[in-house]
Structure formats: structure tokens, C-alpha cells
Amino acid sequence: MDLDVVLLSRLQFALVVTFHIIFPSFTIGIAAWLATIEGMRLATGNPIYRRVFDLWLKIFAVSFGMGVVTGIVMAFQFGTNWSAMAEKMGPIQGPLLAYESFTAFILEATFLGVMLIGRDRVPPLFYWFACCMVALGTMASSFWILCNNSWMQVPLGHQFVDGKLIPADWWAITTGPIVRLRWPHMLLGAFLTTGMSVIATGAWYRLRDVHRAESRVMLHWGLAMVAVLIPIQLFIGHLTGIYVHNYQPAKFAAIEARWKTQQPASEVFLAIPDPAAQRNLLPLEVPYLGSFIASGTWDSRQVGLESFPEQDRPPVIIPFFAFRIMVGMGVIMLAISWFGLFLWWRRSLEVTRWFLWIAFLAFPSGFVAVISGWYTAEVGRQPWIVYGLMRTKDAINPSLTADVALFSLVCYAVVYVTVFSFGAYYIYKLLHEGPSDEAGRPSGATPSRPMAFGTSAGGRRPAE
């Protein structure tokens, strides 16, 4: 069998990043959610907030541990599989990722410990401050990752001296127009992911008729949060689309499955793109709308994939469908949160069981949106690894052979499925058990062992 080492490495990266992104998109949101309800508890003194807080703190601890473990693997991939990129693009990507690690460790080293075990040892206001710092820390961490990825999407602020890449303007790299949009887009994605999970958990408890007060807090806060954030996210998402249109026209054409240049352009809602024949089967399209979405006028000219040399064209199928799945999830979130608010206003939220079922079953919507959004961005950037500067096939470790790459891919798949299954099962168990009645300090955790905090029912620990 003749397997391509570039393809195998891409599959491996896709595998590890897909597993990884689940956890940070969850923890960024949970950290902010914890800071919010701890603030509410301080303001109102209501003990229900404390019980909700304690439950989500356990989920946070487990997810954070999984995020760290799977995240370390990501950074190593740059060296093991994409070493030509690490070497040539390292002067810009290296410092960004170094800052990410250092920021994350400042967070872990100082405030995470206070948050996990320091409740009884610090004043309440300081405890809340630590929660806010942890939330800020997770956001800072994502900021550096988005700086790096945005630079790969649209390189800015660099120059070449004697053929070597030199960072010329760190302000452009860290605060350029692309990262200014994509970082908030990712943050909102994380908040919405958590929001939908909180709603689903509340709905689940309500359907099982357990933890009534806590489920009400989760439903109300989750619905309100998602209802407010989703329109903002749709708007920022639209702006992100505009940057793609302006800076990465080939990706834009692939997302729209626009094979031929059109004026005025139509908008394909759904179709089965046929790359071989360069056309769409069974298209569901609206004339003129494509021009309007892309530029705000009804008759603008929109370039099709035919305008790009064949070796510069991205694949169409994955960006096309992944984008539509992402937008579809956004619409689902909009519908659930706004209709949920309507039911709340009518005072029938907690008795409308069919709605609670839908809200419960929609728990993965945020995760699906985040993953498909990343697929759109990353696959749409192909065949470039750093857009316009370096092709993916030139970034590969030149000493890597297909059999070794296949071996590592299979190993990663096995190990990740194993570790992930246990983590997911454990989070499920914590959620199923729900908030405990006594709001005491759970035992067994230390600052350097966040996962130990997840121990729910007095697991046997030697240190006690």
C-alpha cells in the first residue's frame, strides 16, 4: 500500500487536535461561568449558587487535566511531524507558543491551586478574584493559540532577510485585524459550548426530577447567556467570513462551493459538490444572495475556484459541509435559547417536557460547532500550511517515512480513544450524580493534582 506521509501526518494532527479542542473550548467557558456564579453568590449569598459552583468546579478540574495532557501532544507535533515548518516559521510561531505555555503555567502555578483547594484558606473576595484570574488565564492561553493560528491563516508583520523569516512587527502579529476577529469568535464559541452544556444539564435534572433548585439556576442562566451571546457570535462570525472573503478568496469560494466566477453570484444553501466535474449536484440556491452576503451589494462579482491555479485550490467537500454544520448549530442554539426564554417568560419552561428533551439532546451542539468551524478554517487554508508562504507538503519532517507515520497514527488513535473514554465517562458520572447537598471542601486535591479534585464520593486516597 502506498500511503502518503503528508496525508498520514495531517490525519494524525486532525485526530489529536479534534480530541484536544473539546477540552479547552469547554474549560474556557466553564472558568468564566464559575467566575460568574461565584460573583453571584458573593452578591446574593444564595447557597444554591454554591452547590452549582461546586459541581461545575469538579467538571472543570477533570476537563482542565485532559486539556493539558492532550495539549502537550499538539506542540510536540510541530517538531515531530512538521519540523520543516517549525524550523522556518519558528522565529514567529515559537515565541507565540512559548508565551502560551508560560501564561498557562502562571495560571496553574498561582490561582488554579487557590481555586481548587483554597476556599477555606482565603477571604471570599480573594477567592472570587482567583476564579476571575483563572478565567482570564484560560482566555490568555487561547489568545496566543489564536495569534499563532491567525498568523498561519494570514501572515502579517514579518519579513524575509537572506531568505530567513524575521518577525518585524509583533504588534501586527498579536493584534492584527485577523486575530482581533478570530479570538473573540473562538471565545464566544467556548462560552456557547459551556452554555449549551449547562442548559442540557439543567434540563436533564428537570426531566429526572432531581436537584430542582440547581436545575432552575442552570436553565435560567444558561438560556439567558446563550440567548445574549448567540446573536453577537453570528455577527462576529459574519465579520470573520468577510476577512476570509478579502484575504483568502480561494477558501471563500470553497466554502460557498462556487466553481465558476459569477456576477451576480448566487448563494448555495445546500448541494452535493462534485469536485471531479467541478459542479454542484442537487443545488438549493438563491440568485443574487451570494453577492449580497459577500459584499453587501446585489450585483458584485464573486470569484470561483476556476480563477485559481489547480495547485492552489483547497478541497471543497469538507469546508463546504463543515461550514454549514457550524452555522446550523448556531441556528439551533439561537432557536433553543430564544424559545426557552419565551417559555420562561410564559412560566412554562419547567413543564414543557418536549422542549427540555430537545435542550438536553442539544448538549453537543457547541462542541460540534467548534470542531466543524476549525475544520472549515484549517482544511480551507490548504494547500498552504502558512497561507501564501509555505505549502503543507513542504512543511513535513523530511526524514519521516510512511510506515513510521502510520504506526504513530494508529498508536495515537488507540491511546486517545482509551484516555478520552475514561475522561468522558468520569465527567458523565459527575454530572449524573449532580450537586451534593453539603457544600464542604471535597478532599484529595492538591494544586498540582487538579484531576484528583474530581473524586466525588470519598475515593480512597493515601494522603488522608
Binding site: G65, V69, I72, V73, A75, F76, F78, G79, T80, N81, S83, A84, A86, E87, G90, P91, I92, Q93, G94, P95, L97, A98, Y99, E100, S101, F102, T103, F105, I106, E108, A109, T110, K164, I166, P167, A168, W170, N397, P398, S399, L400, V404, S408, C411, V415, V419, F422, T446, P447, S448, R449, M451, A452, G454, T455, G459, R460, R461, P462, A463
Partner: protein, 330 residues
């Protein structure tokens, strides 16, 4: 600041972090290896308790090394990780299983044996591949046009394999010394009994490794002829091993750990002296591996602000959990 000074600063930070990592994660990996050599459940619980508050923080230093290397010396990061593709894979799996085992062994009654094996094998594999990678580095890493140009099994040769076994024993020595430091009664006595054997094992493996290293002996000899004073490091290292034995005989609980840490410091300095000025032996030097001045300047604040915080925090954790474990812990 002068770009060369900055490059040296980062090389210094990385060297310091590697040394801290080797000594700190060394002892907890060593305890993990010793864990697999006893079946006594009380001993095992005690061993876990002796490293529980520290191991995660110890591993932080590996991340500091990796992140600093990518930022300050991207070419070294690229060559090193691609040369050691399979060892890095094993290292990551070892660390993952070890970390997960830590948390899960207390949760499962039926599957505890599985996590215990994961903990032991994970520790063993991590120690072994690190030693094998050092052995392969001593032999030299082939590089062409700034990229690794060898095969996937550079580390599979007699010398690197013996270095791997040597590091397994060396980390076990650190682990046994740590257990002596942190425990009373039977676990302490158990660890004391193993120290002399581990010292003998380390010495024997070092001698065998050097005997198999025919192809690199000239380079090693040249190195010592060139800088006669570097004999000092190996000599102090040998004295440190004697110090471990004396400390074990006199039952001074602090000695074995201090002396084995000194031994590792000397081994580290010997290697550093041997590799200098190369970062990838023997083709890429510190100066020609350094990232552009603009990158190093940007990174400067990460080094001078964040690193001290990590050091202070680690010190606080060690202070809070100082002294021996109480009997009730086991």
C-alpha cells in the same frame, strides 16, 4: 541587548530547566519504577503518597524546556523532535498513562492492577527513552540543510540502549533516596537496602556503555585531552556515588538524595562540557541555532517574569509538604 547575549541567556535558562527537570522528575519517575518491583500494597500506597504533591509540578519543567526551545532555538526543536520521533511518541504515551494511572488507581477496585502496570511501565519507558536519546546525542545526530537526515532508529544501538538502562537505574537511585528522605520504618529500610545495588548497577552499566562505544571513544578521549580540567566533573561525580554509599551505611537520611543529585549535576556538566558549543551534536551550535534577535527580545519577558514565578511556586509546594510522611499516610 546583544543578540548573542540573549541567545546565551536562553541557552542558560534551558540548561537550568533541563537540570531541574532531570533531578526532580528523575526521583518521581524512579519511585514509579521502584513501585513496580514490590507487590506490597502498603508500600505502593506509601510510594504514591511520597510523590503525589510534587510529580505534576516536576513535569512542568519539561514543558518549560520544550516551549523555550521552540521559541529561542526553533531549529534545535525541529531537529531534535524529528530525530527522536518514536522515542518522543513513547515519552508522551508514558507520561499520559502515568498521569492517568495516578488518578485512576484509587477509583477502581477491579482494574487497579491495570493502572498499577500503567504507572510502572509509563515511568520505566519515560526514563529509558530519555537515556537512549542522550546516548544517541553523544554519538551525534546527522543533519542536512537544517533538517534531521537519519532514520527512525538512531536510538536503537548498543550505546544508547545501555544509556537508557543506565538512566532507569540512575532515576531509581534518585527515587530510592527520595523514599529514604520521605519515609520512616519499613519503607525507609526497604529503600536503604536497594541503594547500594543501584549504585553498583549504575557504575557497571556506565562501564559497559563506554566499552560498547568504540565508534565515539576517540571523540570522548579528545574531549578530555583537550580540556584536562573537565576531569574534575567525572571525578566529583564518582565521589558523589561514594557519598551515597557512605550516607546509606551511616543511615543519614538526607545524604543519599543530596549525593545522587550531585552525581546527576556532575553527569550533566560533563555532557554539557562535551557538547559545547553544540546544541545538536555535532552540527548545530548555540549561536547558529538562535532565533532572530526580534524573537529573543520578544521572549525576554517570558523568561524574566514567568520563570521566577514558577520557581517560587515550586519552592512553596516543597515547603508546604516538607518532612517525612506520617505513619497514617500509608
Amino acid at each position: 541587548m546583544d543578540p548573542n547575549t540573549l541567545a546565551l541567556l536562553w541557552a542558560g535558562i534551558i540548561a537550568f530547566s533541563i537540570l531541574i527537570y532531570v533531578v526532580l522528575d528523575g526521583y518521581d519517575l524512579g519511585v514509579g519504577i521502584l513501585f513496580g518491583t514490590t507487590r506490597d500494597a502498603n508500600y505502593r500506597d506509601h510510594m504514591i503518597a511520597a510523590i503525589a504533591p510534587f510529580w505534576d509540578g516536576n513535569e512542568t519543567w519539561l514543558i518549560v524546556v520544550g516551549a523555550s526551545l521552540f521559541g529561542a532555538f526553533p531549529i534545535v526543536y525541529a531537529v531534535f523532535l524529528s530525530a527522536f520521533y518514536l522515542p518522543v511518541l513513547l515519552l508522551l504515551f508514558g507520561l499520559i498513562f502515568r498521569g492517568v494511572a495516578f488518578e485512576y488507581r484509587h477509583r477502581s477496585e477491579h482494574n487497579r492492577w491495570l493502572w498499577d502496570w500503567g504507572f510502572f511501565l509509563g515511568s520505566l519507558v519515560v526514563a529509558f527513552v530519555q537515556g537512549a536519546a542522550i546516548g544517541a546525542m553523544i554519538r551525534g545526530i546527522p543533519v542536512e540543510n537544517g533538517q534531521y537526515s537519519g532514520g527512525p532508529f538512531l536510538w536503537v544501538a548498543p550505546f544508547p540502549i545501555f544509556c537508557g538502562i543506565g538512566l532507569v537505574l540512575g532515576y531509581s537511585l534518585l527515587g530510592a533516596s527520595w523514599l529514604v528522605l520521605k519515609s520512616d520504618d519499613d519503607v525507609r529500610a526497604w529503600a536503604y537496602r536497594r541503594i547500594p545495588w543501584l549504585v553498583i548497577g549504575v557504575v557497571v552499566i556506565l562501564i559497559i556503555a563506554l566499552a560498547t562505544a568504540l565508534d565515539i571513544r576517540t571523540r570522548i578521549e579528545q574531549n578530555f585531552v583537550g580540556h584536562i580540567w573537565t576531569f574534575i566533573f567525572p571525578v566529583i561525580g564518582a565521589l558523589a556515588l561514594v557519598g551515597v554509599l557512605v550516607g546509606a551505611r551511616k543511615q543519614r537520611d538526607g545524604w543519599p538524595f543530596l549525593m545522587s543529585a550531585l552525581f546527576f549535576l556532575m553527569a550533566f556538566l560533563t555532557l554539557a562540557e562535551m557538547f559545547w558549543p553544540y546544541m545538536i551534536p555535532y552540527s548545530i551550535t548555540v549561536t547558529n541555532a538562535a532565533a532572530p534577535a526580534q524573537s529573543l527580545e520578544f521572549m525576554f519577558y517570558a523568561g524574566v517574569v514567568v520563570l521566577p514565578v514558577i520557581i517560587i511556586y515550586s519552592a512553596v509546594v516543597y515547603w508546604v509538604f516538607r518532612g517525612k510522611l506520617h505513619r497514617t499516610y500509608s
